[in-house]
Amino acid sequence: MNKKRKQKQIRDYIIRYIVIVIWVIIALLPIYVAVMTSFTPFEKLGERMLFPKYFRWQNYVEVATQTPMWEYLKASIIYALGTSIFTIVISILAAYALSRFRFRFKTGFMMLIVAIQVIPQIVIVTPLYGISNSTGLYDTYIMVIFAMVASAIANPILLLKGFFDSITSTLEEAAAVDGCTRLGALVRIILPISMPAITTAFALSFFTGWDAYLYPMILTSSAGKVSMTVGLSRMVDIVTPWNWVMAGTVIAIIPPILVYLLAQKYLIGGLTAGSDK
């Protein structure tokens, strides 16, 4: 009986491992190839190789010196950090209001937040282009960041509201007795214990900001505002020195992977906190 059970468990493990390992290979294949290619000399690119054979780190030096890579990287960092900082501040305030106050239009506002998740960038980019021109915000960092914040904001609000809901309000009431304002209570009492949710919100909005492509492409024109996404995709357009493009790609995917690894502990539960009440 016990033996049979053990056999069943082993079979169970094997099936699950097969599923997982196949996916892990597919998931990591392009990244592995990108890293390998980024160290390969241009004239060896067509070589059939499965394992790393070359270590030409000059690809990275060349891509950094002969293309505006640093400019791209700088713009991407501004977009991503700008998006995440604004998103966090705005969503903390909104989530706190939704969690702690009763007011008219509360349900309506919640529905609005859920609904804006499905508004696509490609739909609103055309009028946004006109608006950015008429307001003089065309070709500014703040325009792109502002637009990205709108795309990033829904999930963090739902997530933080869910988290705030789980904190009892007794602490804030005690603080109110001591003469602390609502904002003071939020900053001094709620935020310190909400770091897991805030970390998740930061990671999510960082990914959105780093992913920005259409907005920087359409809403800016000067060289300094070209992001990694736009810059690298243009490099593919021309003759494509794939070892350079892959070196650039490797540089470009390191920041989001790092943020992911650092915030990973909180992310899996956090992402869907909003959707299943």
Partner: protein, 290 residues
């Protein structure tokens, strides 16, 4: 009295920044989109003249029908792939297994890779002359000619595959957190009744996961309909329009043909179309929960 006043306005003050962003980036552009679609406008959105329904004429053309068809194929097959692969993975990762923590971390990685870089990496992996997939298959003697993954015949299938690659982790994360809410007793009771393996999945797990699946599926559907960057980077809509989806057409109309009115009409159509599908999916969900 004063205190009451304060209490009533405070939530709105806290909400104000969020409302400003939503109004400025979503509400005003959507209103502009509406009147653009009935007008002739120049490239920076200045009104020229009214155009009636002429901007909507494109919606009756053969070219549009084809684009719509391709978009539907892209959405349906993309989501079906994400559903099958993602559900299998979530189930494989749900219960303890040696190395689970590590695998959970790695499985999610495609999700954090921006669409553009997913595009550049896969374009190179699947490159028809020097890509690793073709060189390996040639080496192993499995094919005689390199496969043109981004040629007009296979391009749509290829971008759907890359879409699945990028979308699976989101599905896995949604399901993993939902699976954890299934009480242990449910599983025990089901096992006593003889519900194991696929039977257990079909009669117990799937119904319990349904609300989350519909919620995440709706979001995936809405995103899929309008993904732009992934396709634009990999194929630009080509070759020969093989991967020209709605989003690519909107972009081309607005920023290549300078037909802002036409782009607005198509964008508005897309928005309404997606909203209607999303509404019915969600409504169904809400009803079930009650």
């Amino acid at each position: 009295m004063k205190r009451k006043m304060k209490k009533n306005t405070l939530p709105y003050i806290f909400l104000a920044p969020a409302i400003i962003v939503i109004v400025a980036i979503f509400a005003i552009p959507l209103i502009n989109l509406l009147w653009y679609s009935f007008a002739k406008v120049d490239l920076i959105g200045n009104f020229r003249s009214w155009a009636g329904f002429s901007n909507y004429k494109y919606l009756c053309t053969e070219a549009f029908a084809q684009t719509m068809m391709r978009t539907m194929i892209w959405v349906v097959f993309g989501i079906a792939g994400i559903f099958v692969v993602g559900t299998a993975l979530a189930l494989a990762l749900n219960k303890p297994i040696p190395g689970r923590g590590f695998f959970r971390t790695v499985v999610i990685i495609p999700w954090v890779i921006p669409h553009v870089f997913a595009g550049t990496m896969w374009s190179w992996v699947l490159n028809s002359t020097n890509g690793i997939v073709n060189t390996l298959l040639l080496d192993l003697g499995l094919i005689k000619q390199p496969i043109s993954f981004l040629g007009s015949e296979l391009a749509l299938a290829t971008v759907i595959f890359i879409r699945i690659w990028k979308g699976v982790p989101f599905w896995v994360m949604s399901l993993l957190s939902a699976l954890q809410t299934i009480p242990f007793e449910v599983e025990e009771a089901a096992k006593l009744d003889g519900a194991v393996g696929f039977k257990y999945f079909w009669h117990i797990t799937l119904p319990l996961l349904r609300p989350v699946m519909i919620m995440s599926g709706t979001i995936l559907m809405a995103w899929s309909f309008t993904i732009f960057d992934l396709i634009y980077v990999i194929t630009g809509g080509g070759p020969l329009n093989a991967t020209e989806l709605l989003s690519i057409t909107i972009y081309k109309k607005a920023f290549i043909n300078s037909d802002l009115g036409g782009a607005a009409a198509l964008a508005l159509f897309t928005m309404v179309f997606v909203s209607i599908i999303a509404f019915f999916l969600m409504k169904h969900n809400a009803k079930e929960e009650n």
